[in-house]
Symmetry: C2
Subunit: 417 residues, 2 copies
Amino acid sequence: MALKKKPFNGMRDILPAEMQIRDYVTGVIKDTYKSFGFTPMETPCVEDIGNLSSKQGGENEKLIFKILKRGEKLKLAEAESENDLTDSGLRYDLTVPLVRFYSNNAANLPSPFKALQMGNVWRADRPQRGRYRQFMQCDIDILGEASNLAEIELILATTATLGRLGFSGFQIRINDRRILKAMAAYAGFAEEAYDSIFITLDKMDKIGMDGVKEELLQDGYPAAVCEKYLALFEKVRTNGAVCLQDMLGDYLEKEVMDSFAEIMDSVNANKEDTFELVFDPTLVRGMGYYTGTIFEIAMPEFGGSCGGGGRYDKMVGRFTGSDVPACGFSIGFERIILLLMEKGFKVPAAHKKSAFLIEKGVDGDRLNAVIAEANAEREKGRQVLMVRMNKNKKFQKEQLMAEGYEELKEFYKNPLK
Amino acid sequence: MALKKKPFNGMRDILPAEMQIRDYVTGVIKDTYKSFGFTPMETPCVEDIGNLSSKQGGENEKLIFKILKRGEKLKLAEAESENDLTDSGLRYDLTVPLVRFYSNNAANLPSPFKALQMGNVWRADRPQRGRYRQFMQCDIDILGEASNLAEIELILATTATLGRLGFSGFQIRINDRRILKAMAAYAGFAEEAYDSIFITLDKMDKIGMDGVKEELLQDGYPAAVCEKYLALFEKVRTNGAVCLQDMLGDYLEKEVMDSFAEIMDSVNANKEDTFELVFDPTLVRGMGYYTGTIFEIAMPEFGGSCGGGGRYDKMVGRFTGSDVPACGFSIGFERIILLLMEKGFKVPAAHKKSAFLIEKGVDGDRLNAVIAEANAEREKGRQVLMVRMNKNKKFQKEQLMAEGYEELKEFYKNPLK
C-alpha cells in the first residue's frame, strides 16, 4: 500500500522559506525576553489527561488530542467510554503545563520565576486559513510576583518584542476581571449570570452597543438592568476610566482601581511609540482561570487578537493547595509569522552564501581541494553549498541564485577548463 | 481532585540551567549546518498511523504513542482491536516524516535538498537514566544526491559541529550494507539468514569474536560457514579494508568498494583532528531502510553510540513510486546535552546580567525612572531583571548572584537611603 504524502489532517509542513523567518523571529523573541530577565524552560508535549481536563482550559478541553493507553493498561473489552481508553493527551496551551512545572519544581526555581516558554500545542479545531491543529505558542509568565510590576514588565517586554519585529500602530487593550464583575454587579446582574453576560459583552466589537443590548434582553435580563449596564460603558467611552472609580465604589476595592491606573501610567510613561495602551471595559478573554488584569494585542493588519494574557492567581493552588500569584502574556506566534510572510518580510542576511558546483568525475585529489576551499570559507563565516554540477547547468545556476547564492563557483574535471 | 504535579510517566521537565545549554547547543548546530548549506524545515509531530506502521521503523514501531480517533470516527462499540481506535500517532523519528515531506513538496524544493530538522520524537520505551519518552532529535539529510559527495558532506558537517561543541577523541565508524551482505554471501550464508546473522554480528563489541561464533553455531549455521565468515573479519582486522576488494570480488560490485574508499580518503584528507574515521565491518545499524553506507558516532565518554545514519535510497519510492537517492546523519542531541551537563559545561556569557531590586511602595514616578533605566540598559544589550526587594534582602541578593547577576542595584522609596 502506498504511503500518504500529505501531512495528517489539519497539520502542515513548514518549508525552508518560512522556516527561515520562524527561526529569525524565534531568535528576536528569545533575545528580547532574555534582556528582560525571562528564562527559557520546557515541559513535555504530553500531559496527564486529568490535568488537561480540569476545567481550566474552557472550550479548548473539547479539542484535546487524546493518547491511547498502552500495553496492559488498555482494556478494550471493558472500555465503556473514551475516557477508559486514554490516560494522556497533547497539551492545548502552555499555561496549564507551566503551572504544573512550577508546582513540581518551585524549590529549584528563583522567586519570582520569570518563565519563557516556546513550544507546539495541539487543538482539534476545524482547520481554516492560517489556523492549524498544531501551532507554536510563545508565552512569558511571572510566578510569585503579587504586585503590578508583573503586568508592567509583561506588557513592556511583549511590546518591545513586537517593536523589534517591525510591528507598530497596534493596541494593547487592557481590562480587569474584577472591574468587569463590579460593572455587572453595579448594574444589578446576579453573579450566576456573569459568564453568560460576558459572552454577550465580548461581541461588542462585532454587534455594537445595540446588538449587545438586544441579546441581553433576549436572554431575559430585565430592561432596567441592561440599560444601567450599557449606560456605564457609554460613560467610560466619554469620560474615560476615571469615572468608574466613584460609581463602582461599593463594588470594587479602591486598591484594584489604583493598581490598574498605576499599570496604565507606568506603561504609558515607559512605552515605545509603536503602540497605544487602551482601557477596554468590554474586554473579556474566555479562559476561566483569569482572576485580575487581562490584556490583548489588537493588530489592525489582522483584524483580531494577536495575543493576550492576564493574571491567574488561583491556578498554582489547584496543584499544590496554596495559591501563588501568577501573570502571563502570550504572543500569537503563528499570526505574526503569517503577517510577516504576507508583508514579504526578508530575514536580514547573516551570512554570505556561495555555491560550489562540481563536475561529475573530478578525481579524489581535486575533490579534496574543493572541500578544503569550502571549509576555509565556512571558517570565515560564509555559507557554502557543495553540489554536483547538473547537465542543465544554466538552469541549476538560475535556481541557486534564486535561493540567494550570490557567488557561484564551478569546478571541472580538468582544472584548466 | 488535586492535579498531578509530576510530568507524565517517562517524560520530564527541562529546568532553566539545562535549557540554557540546550539553546546554546541548538544555536551552534544550526549555525554550523547552515554553513554547509543545510536548510531548516519542519514536519508536524503527529503523522498518519499507516505511515508510522509501514515496517520502516523496525522495533520503534512497537513503541508508538497512538492518538485516539475523534468525534464520529471513533466507534468504540464496533472496535475490535487497538487499530480501530486510532488514525494517527506521535512520530518515533524524523526520517519517515522527512521523506513524506520531501515526497509532498519536492516540486518546491531545491535539488539536491539538504535538510536540517530538529524536533521532538516519542517512543514508549522503558524509561531509564538519560532516556526519556520524549526526546529531541537532530538530523541532516541530503535527498537527490546519488554520489558519495552526500556521505562526505554529512560526515564533515556532523564532525565539524561536534568539534565546535568541544568534543574530540571520538570515532566515526563506517560500513556499507552492501559490504555487510557481500561478506555474508562470501561465507556461504543464505540471504534469508542475513537479518538474524547481523543481529548476532552487532554484538561483536560486547561478546567478542568467540561469542559471535558461539551464537551463530547455536543458531544452527554450519561450522565451516561460520569459520569462513569470522576469518574474514580477522583478515580485515590485520590487513584493513583493502583485502576485501579481491576476496569479495564476485559478491560486490567494484564501484561500491571504490566509492567507499573514496569516502574514507576524502574525509581523512579534510577532517579535523578531533576524530578518527574507522572502517568497522561489524557495524550493522538496525533500521530496515538502509541500502548502502552506514555510520555511527562512538564517544568514549558515553560508552555507546551518540548518533548515526546512512543511505536509504528506497524510501522515497514507498511514497511516490519512484526512488530518489537519500542519505542522512543524526546526532544524539540528548546524549550530547547529558555529556555537557556532566562536564559542568558553562554557556559562554553573551550578555552581562544586572538585577534591579525595587523596594515595595516606591511611588509611580520613581518606578518609572527605574524602568526607564532598565530599558536603557537593555538597549545596550544588557540583561536586566527587575524584582521587588524581599524582606530578607541578603538572601535574595545571594540567590541572584548564584543565578549569574553580576551587578545588583537597589532602589528605595526614599532615594536618599
